[in-house]
Assembly symmetry: C2
Homo-oligomer: 302 residues x 2
Amino acid sequence: MLGTASQVPTQRRNHNALFLRWDALGVLFDPGEGTQRQMAFAGLAASQITHICITHFHGDHCLGLASLVQRISLDRVAHPVEIHYPASGQVYFERLRNASIFHDLADIVPRPFGGEGVTGPLELFATEEARLVAYPLDHRVECWGYRLEERDARRMLPERLAALGLRGPRVGELQRAGVLEVDGRQIRIEEVSEPRRGQRVAVVMDTRPCDGARALADGADLLVCESTFLSSEAEDAHAYFHMTARQAGELARDAGVRRLVLTHFSQRYGASQPFADEARAVHADVVAADDLVTVAVPKRHD
Amino acid sequence: MLGTASQVPTQRRNHNALFLRWDALGVLFDPGEGTQRQMAFAGLAASQITHICITHFHGDHCLGLASLVQRISLDRVAHPVEIHYPASGQVYFERLRNASIFHDLADIVPRPFGGEGVTGPLELFATEEARLVAYPLDHRVECWGYRLEERDARRMLPERLAALGLRGPRVGELQRAGVLEVDGRQIRIEEVSEPRRGQRVAVVMDTRPCDGARALADGADLLVCESTFLSSEAEDAHAYFHMTARQAGELARDAGVRRLVLTHFSQRYGASQPFADEARAVHADVVAADDLVTVAVPKRHD
């Protein structure tokens, strides 16, 4: 959690940003101003970023993009960096992409999505291991949440493999082909494995409670959710198209989320504890984030 | 000194920025990324800014402008804020002025200066109390330093005023008119006062040693000067159009500067002390700045 403020940064909280390390992917969500320096505090290099995802073009969610592109260039990051963002923000993307003078060596791949009348969900990329999907949210300006889904797969059962005398490269063959001849008999992968559900991480911000938020959160192992306000300011939350910690807790509970991370706190509050308390009243596993806290995606169930 | 890094911020140093409080003026120079939050640490409000001066449009000197304009708007700062910058950077100014979506209530007055073939010095504003002048520097891109000059004035001499029985409003009359009838005789202000030289503050960054830097520094009470490198990296300093701490010290010495403040340090170095040591070998009064240090303009000589 690189930054946990909302519109106004404080001594305690930098503007918003979070970095998700996911196997070979490094996905940076919503780099607000100062994310480059927060990365220095967190020990993250620009070269670890493979994708940047922007939910919307309010400043606290995107202004850090300007210097990050320049840092990616300065550090001569060798791989392309895809930047996903709502197409309606194209003009802001372009301003931030070239906000000041620099010697541009960055391999930035713009991936605007959506457009007039597009309601989603949209698949933004898909590999053999995972896919990234966006769902529309309900904010004052066009805003989309993100969900990274590991592919469902199968978990091999060692005792069944052993009973068939299968090991090493032969197991790999079976995994790739789905079927293998063993002692003259066709063994299907289903006989020696059980389904393994892919893990899912969702990012929901900024929004009122809405269908998109629920779809993003559905069965997520980890949900990072804005909770700009406490319930005492529920009217402000509604008026400004934000959520309370209580609403984030309810979202997590109703969607069967495992771990909920709260962030994007209004400057009017101090410590994170009251946010955690409020969400924990309805959901067990809650982290109310402080800057530079690392949160693990919960281990697989079994 | 809101930030003291150069191109790359570190855990120790934010990107460049400095705020000069000068009677009713609040002049922010070169707001790099994250200046808004550094202001929170320094206890500075957006409403204290009356002018913003940008030396050039490399990111570490201007990217913080995007969020500052938005913060000035959000805080409903009631006065206009003049932004001075080299006209050749107009396109970058405009991108930073409207870098993301916000409800724009800011009274920003753009003051581009210079242009094709203009070599300066240029007077950017002049009031009864002070004037702001820009001189061209010698960097890889067009870059200008700034100098704020208090008007020369006269210091009233109490014993001479007393000898004439002058006090209170009558002294004010004499100061305004320059002459006053006392007991039937015309008293000129020169008879009861001595010249008082105006104070001068100069900001020199980024540049090699050059005529502009010398003109800016000439007789300054306070000179804030980039010293990106130590003399051990003098070749890099020259190659990248920067200065060493030693060169900054020599500039201050030769120009009769009173207090020298070093800033804009390369990420390759750690503590500020070696910079101070190097400049102190040639100039007595040196502050090698750390972030959030406050430096006083030296009191008048007499």
